[in-house]
Amino acid sequence: MIRLRWGDGVVVALATALVTTSFALSYAPAAGPTHLVVTQAGTEPRHYPLNESRTIRVQGVAGITEIEIQSGRARCLRSPGSRGICEAAGWLERPGDMAVSLPNRLTLQVQGPQRRFDSMHY
């Protein structure tokens, strides 16, 4: 009944693309972190990719901090310090998640492809 024109195809294709893009942009899960950044007072920050499982041992002033990287996340496995603050941070799995070892003057932070925030307030 309707005599479709090629312009209809273009319009429907563009409209479909618009709908799909809007869904993708609005509902896509936030991308996970891609790498772990370890900073230690007095040294350059070190970057580790999160896609390969491994254990990192970092020598600090108070002892050794053991960091575990596994399936896109990282955690502080063992660290000097009586209160276990570093370990208590648990798995760091969202961009910006952070663990701190004050005795070893270490910070562990997982970061995504694009930093969402310039600074974290807490």
Partner: protein, 359 residues
């Protein structure tokens, strides 16, 4: 009338739709910033500078950390330093010249103590110490009822320091200064001044989560993530312009468990005990020291009175987190904060002309 050629029109139409798509996609790439993390001032300091790749970060770190450590030891509440000496001299009751590093804090604290009717009272160092907070690892036991009664019978106030120019005289034997509720504000502001001297025009200085901005990263605002005090995620995001400080006082910052109860470091001068009813109070203000002190004050003021004290201190933008995870904020704060979707929030404005009960 002749038809103009088809293709330009078609292109225009397609272009329009593409533009719409682009507008929706919102290509907002973060301009490059450099970041610097180190330990100083007894906490984790995190500096963000813009633009990236042009500043001598090693020099910035050494200068800033040296400066911050200097302030830390000068204002330390229980280790020897300028403040420690000042406390000793105040206790003697004799007149003395105030160390220049401590004097501005005393002056500001006197003003703030008056405005808050004593809710913000840095003269109560002894009370803080009694709760076990004047040591690196806060620990119990908490003071018993008799000790608390004795401490609260005739508590010292900032006005018990007689000030004539730079000459000070203590007029209360129990007076002991503890600037835990505002020193970080001074330190952060000072660090920004130092950064300016070092040629950094656009930066954030973040000391243990409390921060202040200067300049801007290109033509956008600074984006700050606010960590949820009751969880691991992000509670909200806040956009900051130049010269804005964001300070939070929370019951999770320092403290210990005692007989199943969480003892935290924000002590209410009215009860002599850790404040109750709020998990955290956040203040956005152009004066970092005021933001710091106000966050402490609102935390102490509690769920009923916080908007009132915010008004008294001239703080328009504030936000508090209640134990159930819901958020209350001032009307002026609303346009600055983007709360995570499911967070329940209420807007609270202080009624003008309503006075708080004096403590």
């Amino acid at each position: 009338m002749t038809r103009s050629p088809l293709h330009p029109r078609l292109r225009a139409a397609t272009g329009m739709l593409l533009l719409l798509l682009l507008a929706l996609t919102g290509c907002d790439r973060t301009p490059e910033t450099d970041r610097l993390t180190f330990q100083a001032f007894g906490t984790l300091v995190d500096i963000t500078v813009y633009p990236g790749g042009v500043h001598d970060l090693t020099r910035i770190e050494s200068k800033l950390s040296e400066d911050l450590e200097g302030m830390h030891s000068a204002w330390h509440a229980w280790e020897p330093g300028s403040l420690g000496r000042t406390n000793q001299l105040l206790a003697t009751g004799g007149e003395f010249s105030a160390p220049p590093s401590v004097l501005p804090l005393i002056e500001y604290a006197q003003e703030l103590e008056q405005k808050t009717n004593g809710l913000f009272n840095p003269a109560l160092g002894r009370l803080i110490a009694a709760w076990g907070f004047h040591q690196d690892e806060a620990a119990g036991p908490p003071p018993d009822a008799d000790r608390l009664d004795a401490l609260l019978a005739d508590p010292p106030r900032m006005s018990d320091i007689e000030r004539r120019g730079v000459r000070l005289r203590g007029q209360h034997p129990d007076l002991q200064l503890d600037f835990g509720g505002m020193a970080k504000g001074f330190a952060v502001a000072h660090s920004l001044d130092l950064l300016t001297d070092l040629g950094v025009e656009h930066a954030i200085v973040n000391a243990g989560g409390d921060l202040m901005t200067r300049g801007r990263p290109g033509d956008r605002a600074w984006r700050i993530g606010v960590r949820d005090p009751l969880g691991k995620g992000v509670l909200a995001s806040i956009e900051l312009g130049s010269g804005e400080a964001l300070f939070t006082s929370g019951d999770y910052e320092r403290g210990y468990e005692w007989e199943g109860e969480r003892i935290h470091h924000v002590i209410d001068p009215r009860s002599g005990r850790p404040s109750r009813g709020l998990v955290a109070a956040t203040v956005l203000h152009g004066d970092a020291a005021l933001a710091d002190a106000a966050a402490t004050t609102l935390m102490i003021a509690g769920p009923e009175d916080w908007p009132l004290y915010a008004r008294r201190l001239g703080v328009a933008r504030a936000l508090v987190v209640l134990p159930d995870g819901s958020v209350e904020l001032t009307p002026e704060m609303v346009p600055r904060v983007e709360l995570r979707g499911e967070v329940i929030h209420r807007i609270r404005a202080a009624e003008p002309g309503v006075g708080a009960n004096p403590p």
